[in-house]
Every structure is written in C-alpha cells, then in structure tokens.
C-alpha cells in the first residue's frame, strides 16, 4: 500500500503548495487540452520544460514522480506497443509481418503517446502531491457553484466528496490492518498465479466492506444527531481567496501556451 504514490499528499511549503486549489484544478484541466494540442517536437520540448519547472518549484524530489509512474507503467507500455505495431502505413517501413507493421509514422506516433502520458501523469501527480484532498474537494465545489442554477445539489455532492476523501486514509489503515491479520493467518498477498492472487483478496475485501458499511451507518447517525440536513445552505470553514501568485502562475502558463501554439505545426 505504501508504494501507492498517485493520489497522496506530501506536505511541503512551496509556491505550488500555496496556490489556490481552484487555480491548480483549472490549470491541470487546461494543461490536459494543451498537451493534446501540441504536435511538433519543439512544442513538446516547451511543455516538458514547463512541467519540469513546475515540479522543481514544488520542492518535491523527482524520485517521487517516478515512483508514481510505476503503477501506470503497464498501461503506458501497452498503449505505446499497440500504437507502434498497428499504426497506419506512412514513411519508411522497418518491419512487416502479417498485419503488424513498424513504420516511421508508427514510431513517431508511439513517441508522441508516450510523451503525452508522461506529461499528463506528471502534472496530475503534482496536483495531488501538492494539494490536500480536502482542498481539492473545496476547490471542486467552488468551481461547480454555477451548476446550482440547473438544480444540481452542489453542496451535497461536495459533502459526499469531502467525506469520501476523508475516509480514504481511514480505509487504507483498515485495509493494512486486515491484511496484516490475514497475513498472520497465512495468506500471501500478491504471490502465486492470477486466480490464487484474486482469491487472496476475498479475506481482505469482505471485512473491508463490512467495516465501511458500519462506518457509514455510524457516521450518518452522528451527522443526523448533530442536525445535518442536506437541503440547508452550508457556509465553509476554508474560504478560498485568489492571490497574486495565482495571477502570476496563470500569466506564465498563458505564455507557455502561446509559445507552444507558435511552435506547433498548423
């Protein structure tokens, strides 16, 4: 469980940590679009530079990001290989066997896919490593506010999200505890064949679900006992304010986007 970096907060004091979570969420979203807009090597070089700069200014060591990549490795490798072998013909053909072709276009395509994956994972890892889950929830609900006009229960959704995030570490602890108890009873997690591995998770999942349901029931009782009602308008303990550093970050980002657009093939 401890190798699972993606989705975990690393408390440090850097400009990236102090940015408004709304800023970071919107930036990450825009970055996603920007990554797909880039198409020339130079435009990717600019984005790689921007990503590295963002990582450096977060004071989080690069090793953490590489660790975060590990669980995604198979997905990336699979996509790259598929892209490499099944790309439409184009340019020089290096290898041909029945329906499999390795062509110049295929090579370029898989390279591009690889870089896109890398950039997006790096940036979203940066978002979660530098932002507390609760701040992400607050930011999201603040960004979703306009949806109230179409009668979407934003406050209730935000509360659900905040509770879900709040209980991730609790459930992780619980899972570790149950795993330990079952390992002490002779279960080998993550060893043996696929079926054996899948089977070994039953002694983990059943107790985990039991405890999650019990917790949910206790929590709802406790919330109702303290007068919680979902229709009420709720005020917030954390109030987000837009700072100068947010404006500055957006300016830098817009410049990067401009540079990327200028170097892209049209």
């Amino acid at each position: 469980m401890t190798n699972f970096i993606f989705g975990r907060y690393l408390p440090l004091n850097s400009i990236v940590h102090r940015l408004d979570p709304r800023s970071k969420l919107l930036l990450s979203f825009c970055y996603l679009i920007v990554v797909f807009l880039a198409n020339s090597w130079l435009s990717y070089a600019i984005l790689v530079g921007f990503t590295l700069a963002a990582i450096l200014s977060s004071k989080i060591s690069l090793g953490f990001f590489l660790k975060g990549l590990r669980p995604m490795l198979w997905l990336i490798a699979f996509t790259v290989v598929v892209q490499l072998l099944f790309s439409p013909a184009g340019g020089h053909v290096y290898f041909h066997w029945t329906i499999l072709n390795i062509t110049q276009a295929g090579l370029v395509n898989s390279g591009v896919i690889f870089i896109r994956f890398l950039l997006i994972i790096m940036m979203s890892t940066l978002l979660t490593l530098s932002t507390q889950p609760l701040d992400i929830a607050t930011g999201l609900s603040s960004l979703m506010k306009p949806l109230r006009w179409v009668r979407i229960p934003v406050d209730t959704l935000a509360m659900m999200l905040a509770i879900a995030l709040r209980f991730v570490p609790t459930l992780m602890d619980e899972a570790t505890k149950i795993m330990n108890a079952q390992r002490a009873r002779g279960v080998d997690f993550g060893e043996g064949g696929l079926i054996k591995q899948a089977k070994s998770f039953i002694p983990l999942m059943v107790p985990l679900f039991m405890s999650a349901f019990n917790r949910a029931e206790d929590l709802s009782t406790a919330m109702e006992a303290r007068g919680y009602r979902d229709s009420e308008h709720r005020s917030q303990y954390r109030i987000l304010t837009w700072q100068r550093r947010d404006t500055m970050t957006w300016l830098v980002f817009l410049m990067v986007v401009a540079a990327m657009l200028a170097t892209r093939r049209w």
Partner: protein, 290 residues
Amino acid sequence: MAITFEHVGYTYQAGTPMATPALSDISFTVPDHGYLAIIGHTGSGKSTLIQQINALLKPTTGKITVDGFTITPQTTNADLKPLRRHVGMVFQFPESQLFEETIQRDIAFGPQNFGVSEAEANQRALEMLRTVGLDESFAKRSPFELSGGQMRRVAIAGVLAMQPKVLILDEPTAGLDPQGRLEMMTLFNRLHQEQGLTIILVTHQMEDVATYADEVAVMQAGKLLTCATPQEVFSDPAWVQSSDIAVPRAAKFAQRLGERGVKWDQLPLTADQLADQLVRQWPGTGAKHD
C-alpha cells in the same frame, strides 16, 4: 519458543520525507514458555514492536531471533511462512478479520493456509470453538450474526487453530465486559500453563500484568524503558512516578497503607496477594476468608 530482540530499530516509511522513527535500540529476551506483558502509552510503539515478531514489519536495523528463525532487514517474504505458522497474532479488535460464510470455515482458514487438510482443519475448528467457550451449534452459523464478544472469540479461535507456539495478544480484552474479560484472560493463562505457549500481551490493564505476566516491558516513545518482573517494576514508587505508568489498584492501596505504617515483606500487586498478606499480619481475622 524463545524470542530475542537485539538492538532493533524501526522507521515507518524509511527513506521518504514522511519517515517517522517508531522503535529505537530495543533489546530483550522472552524465554521459552514465558509470559511477557508490554505496557506503555498509546503511540509508544507497542503495536509496532509486536508486529516485528512475526515479521509483518521487518526491522530497519538490528536482529530478531524467534527460536531457529532470524529476522533481519534483509529477510525476504518467502522465508517467513514457517515462522508465521508458529507465531499466532491476535490483533486489536480481531473480529474485523472474519470473512467466511460459516464460523467453522473461518476458523479453519488459518490452518488450511499452512497446509493442514480440510478435514483436519474443520475438526480443529470444532475443538477450538469449545476452547473459546462456544459450542458446536455455532459451527454452521455466519460469523456476522454474532454479538461483538462472540465474534472476538471466533477470531481468537481462528488464530489458536493454527496451533501456534507463541501467542501475541494486542489488547485482546478491549471493549469486553468484565465477565468476558476475565474468561478471556483465564483462557490465555490456561493455554500458557497447560500447553506451554509463550505469550506476549499488550495491555493497559495493570491488574492483568500483575496477575499473569512473568515479566513486563515498559515502552515509552519508541524506547524500552525496562524489562523486569512486575514486582520489580511496580515496587519502586519513584520510578513508576517518573516514567508515568499506572500501578495495579491493589498495589496502590497497599502503598497507601504503607504510608500509614503497615509494613510489607513484598509489595502485594493483586487483590489476592494483598488479602493474604493482611491476613498474615493480623492473625485470626482470616478464618472466615478461607
């Protein structure tokens, strides 16, 4: 099975910015058939310490020997299964480990993982049900329809069914009523006396320490303050005061009597010892007691 800790240290998430040292330089020995109690405040490292014994956590420094097995930071998981078979571990609130459809199958789960045949494991399950004070009518019921106390018993039966030689108990009586607590502690003591199990008990109940343990280890902030007999640990009021540990109620009562002039050959730690010594000091008063 004897257990030896040599300069054991453990750090959570070693090598990351979140690294937190939990144990440092722990050395002690529990003899074969020993009964060790571990006391200390919440967060003092008790639970981390006991998880080292069956290598659920491996030490970051130092060495642990459990009979023939040696656990060092380099030990790999493959070497650990035979060890875990002999070291039974009852976690805090062990009822949360139940998962099977029937109680019998849940109890038989552990032994089967260690290569015991299904028939024999089921047989053991029935035996263990009786050992923990439930009867065979429970065997085919679902563990989830039991009361909290009964679930606890089933979970403990599931550990005992592995027939471990060392039994580690992490606050096994937390949340039980006084009657259940007494029955539970009597059961563990019987296993210790009759089957020679080595027992390691983490507890906040000083009465249990005084009544059952041969030795008591006092933990504070990841360090082992002392490891000695309960008599030695509780008899030194100044040391007890400075290391911020509680004293059994009978011992506290005896100390208060001591302040008013009653002399003790040896500070009584349990209500029985207290009564015996008082009777000896005032002959004639104990006739009805016996």
